[in-house]
Symmetry: C2
Subunit: 430 residues, 2 copies
Amino acid sequence: MTTDNHNKNAGDSILEKPISRRDILRLAGVGGAGLLLGASGVGAIFGAKGTTVSGAAKSSDKADRVEFFGKHQAGITTPAQDFLMFAAFDLTTGSVDEVRKLFKAWTEASAAMAKGDMIGENNENLNLPPSDTGEAAGLHPSRTTITFGVGPTFFDSRFGLSSKRPAALVDLPPFGGDELREEWSGGDIGVQVNANDMQIAFHAIRNLARIARGKAVLRWTQEGFQRTGGADPTGATPRNLMGFKDGTGNPDTKNDALMNDVVWAQSGDGTPWMAGGSYMVVRRIRIRVEVWDRSTLGDQEATFGRHRQSGAPIGSSNEFDPVDLSKKDEKGKPLIPVHSHVALARGDGSIKILRRSYSYSSGMDNRTGQFDAGLLFICYNRDARKQFIPMQQKLGQNDVLNEYIVHNGSAVFACFPGVREGGYIGDTLL
Amino acid sequence: MTTDNHNKNAGDSILEKPISRRDILRLAGVGGAGLLLGASGVGAIFGAKGTTVSGAAKSSDKADRVEFFGKHQAGITTPAQDFLMFAAFDLTTGSVDEVRKLFKAWTEASAAMAKGDMIGENNENLNLPPSDTGEAAGLHPSRTTITFGVGPTFFDSRFGLSSKRPAALVDLPPFGGDELREEWSGGDIGVQVNANDMQIAFHAIRNLARIARGKAVLRWTQEGFQRTGGADPTGATPRNLMGFKDGTGNPDTKNDALMNDVVWAQSGDGTPWMAGGSYMVVRRIRIRVEVWDRSTLGDQEATFGRHRQSGAPIGSSNEFDPVDLSKKDEKGKPLIPVHSHVALARGDGSIKILRRSYSYSSGMDNRTGQFDAGLLFICYNRDARKQFIPMQQKLGQNDVLNEYIVHNGSAVFACFPGVREGGYIGDTLL
Ligand code: HEM
Ligand code: HEM
């Protein structure tokens, strides 16, 4: 009963009730009166839509709010936030109708969370489980984005959708050096939550899991981080756990033509319902931190083909200097080694992907006593068959970086096009 | 060779070379010239101690810097930062002398990291492993604190220190409901790193582990978070993953007399080398998130004895209203239930501890498909026999909160008194 109740309320009422998490908190501060007021009471005090009193706070919130609805899903070309909570779900229902209900409820909850609002309206009734778990109450929206996709298994026989599976949503082939583990692989549905606050990112996945009860269960999750904005107000390219700047060579997300070429599936690509969506590849890549830390700076720089401090290509001075693979030293050897990560990943420059990875630290590997830390590599591309796969085939075979890393998780998802207000995630498919 | 070299350099040179991580980055930006300059070259350009050019940046750094040296270790009564990386180490050396060397190297590295400096001087020499792993380069100090303690096993037969074991450093007795796991328990040494940046916190433990090579190994680690300051500029009491404000009832850390009573071991307490130190209890407490989320708001509030939104004691309006356990409802029942967490933890108010806990999210428990999320409970007290233990005995037996939590890790450490500049952690003991 509580489940149905909860989903129903989440579904019915969020878009009409833009009371922010901050409003509710502030109300509660007013002598606890908030506890006694139903939602209508709140409206009665503050006027329609609760905008009167909290206007100032709302507009300051706006600066750190990313719109959930739009042509494309947020969280793909959106400048990367500081934290990640990634989750893969498996559906437990066999009914397309239930999936549709789930996607609708998720859409409304996600739109609320992106705004910094509480989920649902049962947050003051003592006799019900709260419709929002509450740990993000009072926090700014913090640029929350929630990005949804479906994996290859979504198109198996269960839902009669096999004929709609995009040709570009292939099962990834095995790559050199793969040591994939079930516990960090696959999923019917993939959800990437990013925010400038870890607690908000956790809150989002937790509440989506809760809303999914009876329809889907968590398959695997991974937390991730970068340096926080406060620790680096210059906004410089963040460093990964190998100490190198990571993201320098990414294509320019402000260049629409380039994004249409590299990231966004196009209507002519063979899967009309994916037009404006993108294919996400997730790889959980452990870094052999202890081995890396014993290698010389020279070896480290040769591994990437870039300088550690500046991030510049070897032989150049500035991070954004062009990568010129033809430059040679006095002995005629390429300055950027041919099997360095950058040389191989770049190739002739014709294949590009948009990387959006996060560092992770997940305690220790108890069998070895070493850190379980590394990179939750996430990239978006228009067609993995032409972009991620050939790139990773080269890297898996020859990248000198392989001495220091191991891929232990893998998943691919077709991320839906953006949702228009009133629609729901996946509505072009379902 | 590289190990010795590294430790030697870390030991010799940090205090004399206050070049910040930010300076080095800025240097590297100047046409990559930094790459060609040895440490002395840097000094030569910028004048003694590298203060000339970067004065402005340094003073802005100062605001978010917590001094490592002092009467007490930082990280105990220091206002809580946003992130935690906790690590327990086991010593692999059997020599007290090596332990002393380790503690000296850790002291210098920690003092450097608290300032936002790079560790050691081998960060530009291509032929050596860098003495700092580099992922925190360019970041503000971010209020980094690093707090060290030793566990009961430190005083076993290995180092001839059994006679110095504080009587207050007892092995914790079993408590009701304990489901402790080796993988999250114990340790010869405990290190609590806090910072307003997760990457900096990770960097600190990683570099301490690296410096320990050949002397100590990681036993277990745990990452933790709160909401970040940016998500809540009001600085309100943060909420835990049960959605409740956590920390309200903590004793006032600005009250020195109270801290001497509750937190700091005193010279008359029987262990002179611990005077000014404190005993840290760590409990890894998983929250049964899924069960909690199905309980009603009324049950949740009755569990803690406080209101969720305001954090006020049940029946009161404001978070900091006094907790009055004698207040009754019209039927004569206590407003704050007698077996609620707050009623039991508070008791008659005579036993106090200083809590300094962090939420954690560590992926999933693969056996159950549930979140492995909860609270890394950390508290400091002057004598666990009189404070934490009797309190947890009551809670373990009767706390209604037990329906929703399980203690799966446990450790205790005697945290040294503060280190005076020129000294090293544990020098009053060793
Ligand atoms: C732990 C694993 C990895 C680490 C630490 C890592 C790190 C880096 C670093 C430091 C750079 C240079 C700076 C930059 O341009 O961002 C780079 C570039 C790049 N990486 Fe990776 N990477 C990893 C895995 C991968 C994977 C799996 C792929 C794709 C299959 C990939 C694709 C690329 C590409 C396309 C570039 C840009 C090359 C260019 O055009 O200059 N990386 N990576
Ligand atoms: C997951 C485990 C726990 C959770 C979620 C939790 C949560 C809370 C909350 C919400 C409060 C009320 C607000 C506040 O005063 O901070 C509180 C109070 C308190 N808790 Fe816990 N707690 C946990 C475990 C423990 C443990 C293991 C102890 C000590 C053995 C403890 C000792 C206290 C104390 C002393 C108070 C203050 C009581 C007062 O004087 O008002 N807690 N806790």
